[in-house]
Amino acid sequence: MKIAHHLDDATLVGFAAGTLAPAHSIVASAHMALCPQCRATLHKAEAIGGGILADQAPTAVSQTLRAATLASLEGLPVSAPKKPSAPLKAGALPDVLVRALGVTSLDQIKWHRKLPGVAIYDVPLPKGTKAKLKLLALEKGRAMPDHGHGGEELTLVLKGSYSDKFGKFTAGDVADLAEDVEHQPIVDSDETCICLISFDVPAKFKSIWARLAQPFSGM
């Protein structure tokens, strides 16, 4: 899999720090499962966290904590060294998506269809999280919904492709764009294009259906 479009460094720093909303974390993690380059950047960003931890002024821990921790080690099962996971096969879902979507293949998704050529699946997320996560299946010639405006939005292509002024996005590519970017992605693959999209819900939110229902030229 040749990946041409990657996560923004700012997103990777947020992921490294653990501050990304769950919806964005899932998309970022699914991209990184496919992308050694972004994983390498992640590890470099984590080194900033490591340096900050190393630089903390120590706060003494209680003697009982030390004794209790040392005493609790006896008999604990320990991990054996691991072999690196094999790279994912083309079309295989990363584990993070198997868990998030509750399926082992995109063929098992229970799509919700409202418009011709468009199907959506709302991915359930933990309560109290604001950003949303949706799977989107679009047929050739359909436009992707326009950008969220007013928040973060990540789009990961899982199948098929679309193109906009930034180029062609195929399986594994992620669009991590500034919120003010104007662009009009159109599906250009013969097979249905399936994308995973996470987005913050802005105060005046236009539903994804409303955005999809707009004529292409108006998007």
Partner: protein
């Protein structure tokens, strides 16, 4: 019986006299031979720092100590999964502490991070002794943070220490999210440049 490996007042005084990452050597001993003495030295160095780190995230002392204990037990049980390829021991312990914190907040499961680690699991080719200078890198991070513009440093600290999401940073500082992101990106990239010139 092994002698204590590290003289804390002089981190360069390792058995080899090289710039070995002393903590990686200790961790290697934990992984190889369940060396409790080595673990105790790791505990004495890292537990008070993890405690400070957790308290800066808003934990009280008692909650922080719970997390310290969980983190240090993970250091013991997962020692064999540490790889110097990916960074220093401090960076590894940072990821353990971060994952515990994420699970504690129940915003998501930290498994999303551990899955990724498996792709880059150590291949066994590099041992702690071969990898030099990783703990030095931690010192450089602190120095590099001092050298980048204050508005970039501020964002990195808010993210890594205070756990503030970027959209909330934008609200707090009353600047657009795009500005937060570009400062974050610049801050990260400058840090990388500074670190690459010294390591």
């Amino acid at each position: 019986m092994l002698m204590p490996l590290v003289n804390m007042t002089d981190p360069s005084a390792t058995t080899s006299g090289q710039r070995n990452d002393i903590y990686a050597v200790l961790l290697h001993r934990v992984a190889q031979s369940r060396d409790r003495l080595a673990f105790a030295e790791l505990f004495d160095h890292f537990a008070p720092r993890v405690k400070s780190f957790m308290m800066r995230k808003g934990c009280n002392a008692e909650q922080a100590e719970d997390l310290v204990q969980e983190a240090m037990i993970a250091v013991w049980t997962k020692a064999a999964l540490f790889s110097t390829d990916r960074g220093s021991v401090s960076t590894w312990i940072f990821t353990i502490a971060r994952n515990l914190w994420i699970d504690r907040l129940r915003r998501e499961k930290s498994q999303l991070y551990t899955d990724l680690e498996d792709f880059d699991a150590p291949d066994g080719a590099t041992g702690a002794e071969e990898n030099l200078g990783r703990s030095q890198e931690d010192n450089y991070v602190a120095q590099a943070l001092e050298q980048i513009p204050v508005e970039q440093r501020e964002l990195l600290i808010l993210s890594f220490v205070e756990d503030v999401p970027q959209s909330e940073i934008a609200q707090r500082l009353n600047i657009p999210l795009g500005t937060v992101k570009s400062r974050m990106r610049l801050g990260y990239q400058r840090m990388r440049k500074l670190l690459e010139t010294v390591t």
